[in-house]
Amino acid sequence: MIKMIVKRLGLLIFVVFGVTLVTFFMSHVIPGDPASMIAGQRASEETLQSIRQQLGLDKPVWIQYFHYIGDLLTGDLGTSIRTQRPVLDELITFFPATLELAIAAFAIAIVLGIPLGVLAALKKNTFWDNLSRVFSISGVSIPVFFSGLIVILIFYGNLGWFPSNGRISLDINPPTHITGFYILDSIFTGDMVALKSSLEHIFLPALVLSYAQLAVITRQVRASMLEVMSQEYIRTAVANGIKGRLLIISYALKNALIPTVTVIGVAFGSLLGGAVVTETIFGWPGMGKFVVDSISYLDFPAMMGFTIIISIGYVLINLIVDIIYGLLNPQMKQ
């Protein structure tokens, strides 16, 4: 197991290198000039030239790439063209917010998705199964910009139960920075005011973001539960008098979860990447909005930084999925 982890982490270096290569050249092939975005509405050729020079954009692409890699090796992700701040600082500012939202959404998706899937499988072709089906299909088919607005309209507009915007109420100081996750930080510092506000703020966006993944997880759990339940060892177990919770959880679900874990791993990746729209609707100060703005500005360093972080994230998630696989399935341990 340890060997596998070390090997995977070693591979990570190659993944990151490959990603920088592809992203860098792809983003430079796209026609467009960041200098013209900075220079304002009307820009004389002299101004454009001076900005290009300052950004090093006047040099050949491959030299720019070597500079970038050289800096990257020393941990320098460059300076954002758009905000003039170090990209690393930008990522440190925005990434925890996105990650916190994705984890919260992920938690909701798992906590609701697995029991719903089990329920649907056990009550196959009944009212409950159909209800769960309708619920899942609408989860996959309703776009976030719609469900987000409906949720805000009801819970903020009409009922006034939850806030509409941001990570924490504007009257409240964010908790002291430890992890960058407001919920964890406010627990760590014992700041109940901030905790309450953070939970209120994260609830709606996490709910909306989780919906699509929740649907996928429910369907997956249902399908594999049905498959497992029809297998012979379950029949044997039933014949031996094993029933109820023990049968479902220890015998059936544990095996049904193996394919689900893969789905969940992929789901988490898409939560990270897919938070963009949710962040915009709920004014969540995460990476999504930052990245979209960076792309439209052709802010190469920011785009690269984001891509690197996300690809590392994907590799790590896959690693974690494989570790969990091993825990669930002793055969995989070898």
Partner: protein
């Protein structure tokens, strides 16, 4: 399994207990701390209900706050009130009034401008505003050589005559010079910015996130992606009523509308025209509607595009083919007015007698036939920069189809469209323009001077030597009535030769709570608030 789980739980609980002694940002204020250092969260208030605080919802976060770098309108609205300028726009007009300079003189030839500074202006760090500071600030802008420096390319020297007198020497006569000093590039930065210099960046990294001016406010907090807060600059000469201004980033227009309705925000900046009607019904909200100087028009590529476009009759035909009235009502829901001449209403030089193209399909067809153009196919370039361009492009496509011209829509990313415009890779392209200073120069010289082909402003790649000559005369003459006469002549020529299709001048619309008093709309500073005049 359960055993393992309890270990994990134990570790988490221990971790919580261990870290619980860390500083709590929201703990009740201890008696030792000064009130300004910490804020208690015990009482939650709706932020906009505080009469000392103005809450403005803006649709997106801002970029570098450095006046020598930024050319972004949203950023300007944040920093405008943190800085002062030598001169300012007077209220709602394009006239210039004294700012830090109490008076000024200009030499006969228009090349030497001397400003006499008023005593008592102080930067937010306590440094007094004097001639040396003014020189240092403009020198810094020129040295950084970004967008704002481009505006001052004619400045050849800045001289300190005495501690409170500063002289700008220009390489050529440039009558709109005074007007450029009232805009955001004219913001005067404290010379102490150099104390924050890293790696020879002239303090760019510092000013990207901070303000250092003598305006009535200073930036005290910037939660990235969430909000920005301005608070009173205690050193400033002007003492405003509002104690703090909160800019909240609210990306979704529907959410902004709900927040406005609930009184959580005072001003909603991100509501598009198609949602304005739903605002009208709100009891506590007033709708500001003023003519803006933002114009929307089509560049006809007169030299690098389809060769047919080099024929002025074809360009005229395109101008006659647009149903202006329907376009304004379909695209801007009526919140716009058809342009008459390149200089919009609101800037001197605008002329009601200049020829205006009307919707005349027969005339357009006749002109096309006369020019011998058959089966003309043109590309229309536009981007996602303006939300309304999609509808507009479709309307134009259908209008031109009526006269037998096929239009292929070419929608690209904004940055790509900028490059294509610069290189002239289009037949027709949608564009907007707003003036940098209150002078017809900001339209006429940029749009029509052949020295400005491409992004610099002449995006029609239009060349007419006579026009070039006249533009030069108008730009270097100090007599406004003489200049007005010259600009009239030029307008007559360019309307005849039609290198652009002038569509409309947009209205400025702003939903605002009725509690807000003292709002002044200045078309030259669109979207910028005179915060020291405002109250609640």
């Amino acid at each position: 399994m359960i055993k393992k789980f309890s270990y994990v739980l134990l570790i988490i609980v221990t971790a919580i207990l261990l870290t619980a002694c860390k500083e709590n940002a929201n703990a009740p204020v201890s008696s030792e701390s000064t009130p300004s250092e910490s804020t208690s969260n015990e009482t939650e208030t709706t932020t906009a209900s505080n009469p000392d605080q103005l809450v403005i919802a803006i649709p997106a976060d801002v970029t570098s706050l450095d006046p020598a770098i930024t050319m972004d309108n949203t950023t300007w609205k944040i920093i405008y009130n943190a800085y002062e300028r030598l001169v300012d726009y007077d209220g709602a007009t394009t006239n210039i009034k004294p700012g830090v300079a109490e008076r000024w003189e200009v030499s006969e030839d228009g090349k030497t401008w001397t400003f006499f500074l008023e005593e008592g202006h102080v930067f937010s760090d306590g440094t007094p505003v004097d001639a040396q500071a003014v020189k240092a600030s403009f020198d810094r802008t020129l040295k950084i050589a970004n967008g704002p420096a481009g505006v001052y390319s004619m400045v050849s020297e800045i001289r300190v005559d005495d501690p409170m007198t500063v002289t700008f020497v220009l390489s050529e006569n440039f009558p709109p010079f005074l007007s450029t000093l009232a805009a955001n590039y004219g913001n005067i930065v404290s010379p102490t910015v150099m104390e924050h210099e890293v790696n020879g960046d002239l303090g760019q990294a510092y000013l990207a996130e901070n303000t250092l001016g003598s305006g009535p406010y200073k930036l005290t907090e910037w939660k990235k992606g969430d909000s920005l807060k301005l608070e009173v600059n205690e050193h400033a000469k002007v003492k405003p009523t509002l104690q703090s201004i909160l800019f909240r980033i609210v990306g979704d227009p529907s959410v902004q509308r709900m927040q406005l309705e609930k009184g959580e925000i005072d001003i909603a900046e991100g509501i598009p025209v198609d949602q304005i009607d739903s605002i009208k019904g709100l009891e506590n909200v007033e709708l500001i509607q003023e003519p803006s100087l933002l114009v929307d028009y089509i560049y006809i590529n007169t030299s690098k595009g389809n060769p047919a476009l080099q024929d002025e009759r074809i360009r005229q035909a395109l101008n006659y083919a647009i149903d202006y009235e329907s376009l304004v009502s379909a695209v801007q829901l009526g919140y716009a007015t058809q342009m008459r001449g390149p200089i919009p209403d609101g800037i001197w030089g605008h002329d009601e007698t200049v020829h205006q193209y009307n919707y005349d399909v027969e005339k357009a067809k006749a002109l096309l036939a006369e020019a011998g153009a058959e089966n003309l196919t043109l590309d229309l370039l536009y981007s996602d920069n303006k939300t309304w361009w999609e509808t507009e492009a479709l309307a134009i496509q259908s209008n031109l189809a009526d006269i037998g011209v096929t239009v292929n829509l070419n929608k690209v990313a904004y940055a790509t469209s900028r490059e294509m415009m610069d290189k002239g890779e289009f037949d027709l392209a949608l564009g907007v323009w707003s003036p940098d200073f209150g002078d017809p120069f900001a339209f006429m010289n940029y749009w029509f001077d052949s020295a400005n082909h491409g992004l610099a402003g002449n995006r029609a790649f239009y060349t007419n030597r006579e026009v070039d000559q006249l533009l030069k005369e108008a730009a270097t003459n100090n007599d406004q009535s003489a200049r007005q006469e010259i600009y009239k002549q030029i307008q007559d020529i360019v309307m005849e030769e039609a290198p652009y299709i002038l569509l409309y001048q947009k209205d400025y619309i702003l939903p605002m709570s009725k509690d807000v008093k003292g709002f002044i709309y200045n078309p030259m500073l669109e979207g910028i608030y005179f915060l020291n005049e405002m109250s609640k």
